[in-house]
């Protein structure tokens, strides 16, 4: 009697928690059943909140000015607002030398032409000591700085000349513009609903709790049911 009462109490509360998950599962499942009726595969969301579930816009840096600018949004490099190439590492410096951009990451320096192609790279194989920390220029040469010194890229010799280091500029408007451009046809409602349904976008802890709650509800439900049945049989 005591066990049944105790289980019923917990069963009620856990039932409430699990119902949130079941509601999500049922409503997204319902929407997926009708995805073709509502053309969900061809409707896209640009909500910053929903896109953040996919880690879009987490990393942003931009260099240059109004006329010539280079930006990195997550892995994608944009030159003057147009998507060009993908880099796996964050940019730590960028210098514009007409018509090319020279960009540095911690492990590599790349020359990017107007078409957005890497036309030259320099890295540890060329004798550069990593990690690269800054990229800049003096009157004649490109300069990089690593942990111990500033080095001229042309000669790979230390330099004592005054260097102008490239500085990232904070441009929230460019970031918003690039997110809007890059995600125009990125996340369809079908994909979003499917990912919500499959638990891909929700934290794994939430999925674990929901699964454990359902297991508990099933077992406690069986116990409550049979305990009651036995008592009823006894009364007969």
């Amino acid at each position: 009697m005591r066990l049944r009462k105790f289980l019923r109490k917990i069963h009620r509360w856990i039932g409430i928690i699990a119902s949130i998950w079941l509601l999500l599962l049922a409503s997204t499942g319902f929407l997926l059943q009708h995805k073709d009726d509502w053309n969900l595969a061809h409707k896209y969301t640009q909500s910053a909140l929903l896109l953040s579930l996919y880690d879009i816009g987490q990393q942003f840096t931009s260099y240059g000015d109004q006329q010539n600018n280079l930006a990195q949004l997550d892995y994608q490099i944009y030159i003057d607002g147009t998507a060009k190439i993908k880099l796996e590492e964050p940019i730590i410096g960028a210098v514009y030398q007409q018509p090319n951009w020279i960009i540095a990451t911690a492990s590599q320096i790349n020359w990017i032409d107007t078409h957005g192609q890497i036309i030259q790279s320099m890295d540890e194989f060329d004798g550069i000591t990593l990690p690269i920390e800054k990229l800049g220029h003096n009157q004649t040469n490109l300069i990089i700085q690593n942990q111990s010194e500033s080095i001229e890229l042309k000669t790979l010799q230390p330099t004592m000349l005054t260097t102008t280091w490239s500085q990232a500029i904070d441009s929230e408007s460019l970031k918003i513009q690039l997110i809007e451009t890059s995600t125009q046809n990125y996340l369809s409602y079908e994909q979003l609903i499917f990912d919500l349904h499959a638990g891909i976008t929700s934290p794994s802890l939430f999925n674990d709790i929901a699964a454990l709650a359902l297991i508990f509800l099933s077992i406690s439900g069986i116990i409550i049911f049979f305990k009651k049945s036995f008592r009823n049989q006894k009364n007969f």
């Binding site: 190439i85 993908k86 990451t105 590599q108 192609q117 036309i119 030259q120 194989f125």
Partner: protein
């Protein structure tokens, strides 16, 4: 849009392994073949690569040189290491394959076909293509031909 990627840490390890293997763990200093306007024109006419670099890196010890070149298969770069000795191919090895299809070109059985070939060989006739990997095979052919040309011309003024 072309998806080019710089070498990741793993890719660099495979490049290092390739160079260590080629030069018996004694990698020589890197050299560069600087592309002037005339060379640029010739490279474009002869090989029509997806991109012409400002310079091409190579490592040389005695008569053996190793070149690492990138060429786009369909959408992504394929990074290949090519070892040349006496103007003949000694070894071709795909170091980084980024395409989703056509990965069979990484197989040694395929790349060994290039061994001992020179710029006089007709690659289209002599290299067996792989169905479903035509663009990747074409990319490798271009890389090998370009490496042979660069190697032959590297000491010319």
């Amino acid at each position: 849009m072309v998806f080019q990627q710089q070498l990741s840490a793993n890719d660099k390890n495979s490049t290092k392994e390739f160079l260590n293997e080629t030069f018996n763990n004694d990698i020589p200093k890197v050299n560069r073949f600087w592309v002037n306007k005339n060379n640029q024109k010739t490279i474009k006419q002869l090989f029509n690569p997806s991109q012409i670099k400002l310079s091409y890196r190579y490592w040389q010890k005695d008569d053996t040189s190793a070149w690492i070149l990138d060429e786009i298969g369909k959408e992504r770069d394929i990074t290949t290491g090519i070892v040349i000795s006496s103007d003949k191919i000694v070894k071709v090895q795909v170091l980084v394959y980024r395409e989703s299809r056509g990965g069979q070109v990484q197989n040694k059985r395929f790349t060994q076909q290039y061994n001992n070939m020179s710029s006089n060989n007709n690659f289209i006739k002599e290299i067996d293509t792989i169905s479903g990997a035509t663009l990747s095979v074409n990319a490798l052919n271009k890389q090998v031909k370009l490496a042979l040309w660069l190697n032959h011309n590297k000491n010319k003024p």
